[in-house]
Subunit: 339 residues, 2 copies
DNA sequence: GCTTCCAATGGGAGCGCTCCCACCTCCCTT
DNA sequence: AAGGGAGGTGGGAGCGCTCCCATTGGAAGC
């Protein structure tokens, strides 16, 4: 990059390519978009000119003319930008990015956790700053939900927002996974199975508690009332401590995610309870922490990159004028040593 | 969103706003960019019209006219897209996103780990698909380095590429951090301090080994030759096992990141060595895993969100025509129980 | 009362591309 | 031999915005 007050030597334009190739802009354009109705001779000439000039089409101009930006936005809501630091999102992005790449779309990332951020997302949605949007981590009564509904733009939800099922979404079978985890604990002879819930103002938190509840009820056992953490390790440790105080005889705990399970493990260790002998622990997510924890966590695996991938694919389908159906991805229990 | 073959009812344009407000496009434009030379009366009229019509400026058209896209790209290179799953990047993004938001820039995320991905980044750079670029995780002889040099676009590097110092970069004091970690181990009376290196085809890997080496040499001790891991937990476990075999008497190990330190911890546990009594372990990064590990890791903290933030700020400065100086962020040792 | 100046205003020319359409040439039908 | 196509081609009109520039009118200065 040159810092000097450069002579406004600009990128070559299509016009320049056309001139060098001795054809009209139209023909040059057709060659670039490899559209039909171009003779082989001119096609070669244009391609040669492109190479000679080092021409690269200007995406902005193309976007203006076609009314398509060539980009999809991934919006992560939440009340604090650091929610994004959760490795969960990184994996979603890996999947989404790959699928978007196939459709030749760019990925814009919007952390809509501040007021400013939300305002910018709103502008993006209403001002056609992207061709479509993937929305994640909506909270209860999230203002973004409304904006998304109103926007004349395809919107795919990642995980359902609390209380409503949008037209297009991809989710994970949270209830089923939680149920399976709890059933597993019960099948191993545990009977006093406690639960560390996630935030109950999120659908994930609720759905996982529901799964736990279902399994307990089905086994004729009284479910523990919801003890709510916030999906972080410290909150898991704290809730576990409280649980131990109230129910010293518990023999298992289902944590709504791995972070909280890791916290629980720490508290149990400090309390001198051995895992899984005294207390069995099951988590949810199967992130790296599950393997690193001591003992390694038995947990509910969810296909996170697939979640991102399917969201992106659904968006692409929408962009192609199709009408895809919502998708719920399966989970599966991964047994390690903690239960 | 309406799926029907909608009557092409399009977004209102500036033209429409101007007409409704009874002014010219120019005046309306000035109001929107709150430029001077507009009477209060017309200003109000335009603002009213904007509200009435629900007008939102079209960013693409603006971009074409101003030759500025309003977006900055964060490019993550690497040989495998899953490199991005490392929580490190998520934290960089949190910082970068906040700084970009202040400058009203959008964030485009490019995972340039596939050939296709690299090609798209190249097009982005050469076709002015963004106003500037932040480049991370370049490998040795990464083709992206060249492309970036040639692009007429501000480029800020996150971490230096192997062997060369670009004009603008933000890095972390890897050598200093590694030296401090090793010195700490030595100061606690350890003398047989082994090292688990990161990939030596990355500057981070090299710099951290260099720091270790410096400290050993300064203490008159023979540094261990580099045993190379790849920054993952399993590789840390494997290298630790090899180390234990070759040097059964080692009494400390410096791992070039927390993941590998966690792996080392696992191997040591399985080998019946107690930490820190028999072997002290120090990591690098201070990611979540450091706190969750058992025992919690003593590690070199690096300000990751700050890294992202400073990269973004440097890019913004560049965009403003300034010429910022490279930045090296400090690290600091965080002592927990593993050493 | 007549310049001088400047805030206020609107017209128009792009920005670089796509795409519709008119036009022209061949070539294949009947 | 005349009438279609259909492929090939270029011109021109946008896409929605910014920005330069010419124009205006009134306030200030003499």
């Amino acid at each position: 990059m040159v810092m000097a007050d450069d002579p406004p030597r600009r990128q070559p334009t299509l016009e320049a390519v056309a001139e060098l190739a001795g054809v009209s802009r139209s023909v040059a354009s057709r060659v670039l978009n490899n559209a039909p109705h171009v003779s082989q001779g001119k096609r070669d000439a244009v391609e040669r000119a492109v190479r000679e000039l080092g021409y690269v089409p200007n995406p902005t101009a193309r976007a203006l003319a076609t009314r398509q930006t060539g980009a999809a936005a991934l919006v992560v809501s939440g009340e604090d930008p650091s929610i994004f630091a959760d490795p969960f999102f990184a994996q979603v992005i890996v999947g989404a990015s790959a699928a978007l790449e196939e459709a030749d779309l760019h990925l814009m990332l919007c952390l809509a956790a501040t007021d400013r951020g939300r305002k910018r997302v709103e502008e993006l949605l209403r001002g056609k700053g992207a061709d479509g949007v993937m929305l994640m981590a909506l909270r209860e009564n999230d203002p973004l939900a409304r904006t998304a509904e109103e926007a004349e733009m395809p919107v795919v939800f990642g995980g359902r927002p609390v209380g409503s099922a949008p037209r297009w979404y991809v989710d994970v079978d949270n209830t089923g996974g939680a149920r399976e985890a709890t059933e597993y604990l019960l099948s191993r002879g545990r009977t006093r199975v406690a639960v560390i819930c996630g935030r109950l103002d999120t659908e994930v938190g609720r759905a996982r508690y529901r799964g736990y509840q279902d399994a307990m009820l089905a086994a004729g056992l009284e479910p523990f009332p919801p003890h709510e953490g916030d999906f972080t390790e410290p909150s898991g440790a704290a809730v576990m401590a409280a649980l131990l105080l109230q129910h010293p005889d518990l023999d298992a705990v289902f944590a709504a995610n791995d972070n909280m399970a890791a916290g629980a493990l720490r508290t149990l260790r400090e309390a001198g309870r051995s895992v899984p002998a005294d207390v069995a622990v099951v988590g949810f997510d199967d992130l790296a922490v599950a393997r690193i924890a001591d003992p390694p966590l038995t947990t509910v695996h969810q296909p996170i990159p697939a979640l991102g991938r399917e969201m992106a694919r659904m968006l692409v389908a929408l962009l192609n004028g199709e009408d895809p159906t919502p998708l719920i991805l399966p989970t599966r229990l991964v047994t390690r040593t903690s239960a």
